[in-house]
Amino acid sequence: MTTRKYLVLAGVTVFSTLGDSLLARGMKQIGGISLHDFSGLLLAILNPWVSVGILLLLAFFASYMSALSWADLTYVLPATSLSYVLVAVIAQVRFHEQISPTRWLGIALIAAGVGFVAAGPAVTSSHPASPADDFERNAPQRHASREQEVQP
């Protein structure tokens, strides 16, 4: 794992959180759109919060696709789940929402899960068409022994 790859994973986390919050903020400003009024949905893009939110979600999709090109799905999903924690932190800071003890427990579990998966190897599957991950290419023996450790 290089610094660039950790930055991509951080991008997945941050872009999805910010994109969702900006989109939610913009849609609340516009108010309810009925399903029959399709033009209302198109005009929603004119709202600056909505358009920046869509741009951020496009950035999320690009970084997510990039991450999936060199890391396992079962690595990327837990590794980027801090976005759920980020949502709670943003709600706390912006709207002064109290974080309940159950939510703190949820935050602790998610953080523990992220730590658990991030300490292991990023890629275990070997697809014939894909070039090997640089981690695998540089240290095949280390990779093999590390994977054996986590096998039950």
Binding site: R4, K5, V8, Y64, M65, S66, L68, S69, W70, D72, L73, T74, Y75, V76, L77, P78, S81, Y84, V85, A88, S100, T102, R103, L105, G106, I107, A108, L109, I110, A111, A112, G113, V114, F116, V117, A119, G120, T124, S125, H127, A129, S130, P131, D133, E147, V150, Q151, P152
Partner: protein, 126 residues
């Protein structure tokens, strides 16, 4: 009856989101390391290789189905049930599907991480 509708939506969202994630992960593994291709052949080579992968579009279509199921689910059930239940079930379903279809070695470490995150996401909604 309302509960049955909500859980039908949750099952639909989980199924569609898992299908989408697995198809997208499969497609991107076929495309190869995007960063490497970008460095050696440029951005257009990356876009061209992704657009030449049919399973990528199937994955995007499955994601669209998941999104619309979520919209319907929100009109049938509670926000505080549908969103966390489908999110945490998708984490677990993805681990099973990645093991079966993508041949990822989901060892003890990843199972623990997946279950911790799945439980954590469910707790965040309480």
């Amino acid at each position: 009856m309302n509960g049955l509708y909500a859980w039908t939506a949750i099952a639909l969202i989980t199924l569609a989101a898992t299908t989408g994630d697995v198809l997208l992960a499969f497609s991107m593994k076929r495309v190869g390391d995007v960063g490497e291709i970008w460095k050696t052949k440029g951005m257009f080579a990356v876009v061209a290789r992704i657009l030449a992968t049919p399973t990528f579009f199937l994955g995007v279509a499955a994601m669209a189905v998941a999104f619309y199921s979520l919209l319907f689910g929100l009109s049938w059930g509670n926000l505080s049930l549908v969103v966390p239940a489908s999110a945490s079930l998708t984490f677990v379903a993805n681990a099973i599907a990645a093991r079966i279809f993508l041949h990822e070695r989901v060892g003890r470490r990843r199972w623990i991480a997946t279950l911790l995150v799945g439980a954590g996401v469910a707790l965040m909604a309480l």
